[in-house]
C-alpha cells in the first residue's frame, strides 16, 4: 500500500510542477500565443500526471473510469478552446506589445 501512496505523491507533485510552470508562462511569456501554449501544456500534462497519480487511490472500476473520463473531457475542451482562442488571435492579426516584451526580456535575462 505504501508504494501506491509514494507513486501518488510523486506523480501529483510532478503534475503540480507542470501547473506552476504553466502559471509562470501565463504570467511571463511575451505574446498571447506563447501564453496559450504554456497554459495548454499545463492543462494536458499537469492534469494527466495528477490523474495518473490519483488512479492508484481510486476504486476499481468506477472511480478509475471516472478519473480517466474527466481527463479525456478536459483534454477535449481545453484543446477546442485553445484552438478557438488561437484562431481569434490569428484573425485579429499580430499586436505589438512593446512594454510587456521589454519586461519579459529583461526578466528572462535577469532571473536565469
Amino acid at each position: 500500500m505504501i508504494w501506491a501512496d509514494v507513486f501518488t505523491v510523486v506523480l501529483v507533485t510532478a503534475g503540480a510542477l507542470f501547473f506552476f510552470a504553466g502559471w509562470v508562462g501565463l504570467m511571463r511569456f511575451p505574446d498571447s500565443l506563447s501564453r496559450l501554449h504554456a497554459l495548454s501544456k499545463a492543462d494536458n500534462l499537469g492534469l494527466g500526471l495528477v490523474v495518473v497519480g490519483l488512479l492508484a487511490q481510486a476504486s476499481w472500476p468506477y472511480g478509475v473510469l471516472k478519473l480517466i473520463a474527466l481527463w479525456l473531457l478536459v483534454i477535449l475542451v481545453g484543446g477546442a478552446t485553445g484552438q478557438m482562442l488561437a484562431g481569434a488571435l490569428h484573425a485579429a492579426g499580430p499586436t505589438p506589445e512593446p512594454d510587456r516584451r521589454g519586461d519579459a526580456a529583461r526578466d528572462a535575462g535577469g532571473t536565469r
Binding site: L73, L76, V77, G79, A80, T81, Q83, M84, G87, A88
Partner: protein, 313 residues
Amino acid sequence: MLPDPRLADLPLVVALLALALWLIATRHDRSAIIGFTAYGLIVAIVWVRLGALDVALTEAALGGIMGLLLLMAAARLGDAPDGPPPTWPLRVLVGLLCGAVTAGLAVLVLTLPEPAPNLVAAVAEQQSATALKNPVAAVLVAFRAVDTLLESAVLALAVIGLWSVGADAAWGERPRALDSDAPDPALVLLARLLPPVGLVVGVHLFWTGADHPGGPFQAGALLAAMVALVWLARLGAPPPVRSRLTRVGLMLGPLVFLLIGLAGVVAADAYLAYPEALTKPLILLIEAAKTLSVAVALALLVAGPPALPRARP
C-alpha cells in the same frame, strides 16, 4: 507530527479574498466578469470542502451560465465612458455606508448563538416519509415545496421579461444573440462531441438527485449549456418565440408542480402535500418536469430576445 489538515484550505481562502478584492478594484467590465466566474468556481470548491456538495454543484453549473449571460450583456453594452470622478463628500458617504454594512454583517456573524439553531434533526426525523435518501432533495421538494415552486416560476418570468425587451417588429421571430457568421471549426467539433456526454451526465444528475447530491437545477443548467453549445456552433437554431412547444416546455415544470400541489388538497390533507403511497412517483414527476423547464428557461435566457434576421451586406 502532521500539520493541522485545515492548513490545506489556506490557499483557497487567500485566493478567494485576493480575487474578491481584485474584482472590486478592476476597471474593465469584461475582466471583472471573467474574474467573477473564476470566483464562483473557487466558491464551489469551498462548498465541497464544507461538505455541501449540492450547493457546490449548483454554484459551478449556474455560475458558468451566469458568467456567459454577463459576458454577452457586457459585449452588448460596450465599455461605459469614464464620467467625472465622484466628489469628495460622495466618496466619504459611500465609504461610510460600505463600512456600516460590513460592520453590521460582522456583528451579526460574531453574535450568532452557539450552537447555531438548525433543523437538521427535524429533517432527519421526517425524511423517511419522502422516500428520498438525499436530505437536500427532501427539503426542496417536500418540506419547503412552496419555495421551490416559486423558484421554478421565477425562471419562466425571467424568460418572459427577456422576450419583452425585443423589438416590436421582431415578435414571434427566433432569438439571434448567439448567431455568428462562421463558427470556429474547433467549436463545431466540440458541439458534436460534448452534448452526448453532457446529456448522459445531466440525466444522471437528475436521477441521482433523489439519493445523492444533484437535482433538477444542476441537471437543467448542464442540459441548457449543451443546448447553447449546439446553438453557438450553428448546428441548430433557437426555436422562434411563437413556438407552442417551447412555451409548453418552459411552463411544464411550474404547472406540473402546481397541479400536483392543488391535487394534494383533495388527495392528501394539505396544499402541496403528497398522498403517502404516491410520494416517490409524484416527486419524480415534479423533478423531471422541473429539470426540463429549467433547461429550457436557461437556454432561452442565453439565446436572448427575439430579433429580426440581420440584413446581409
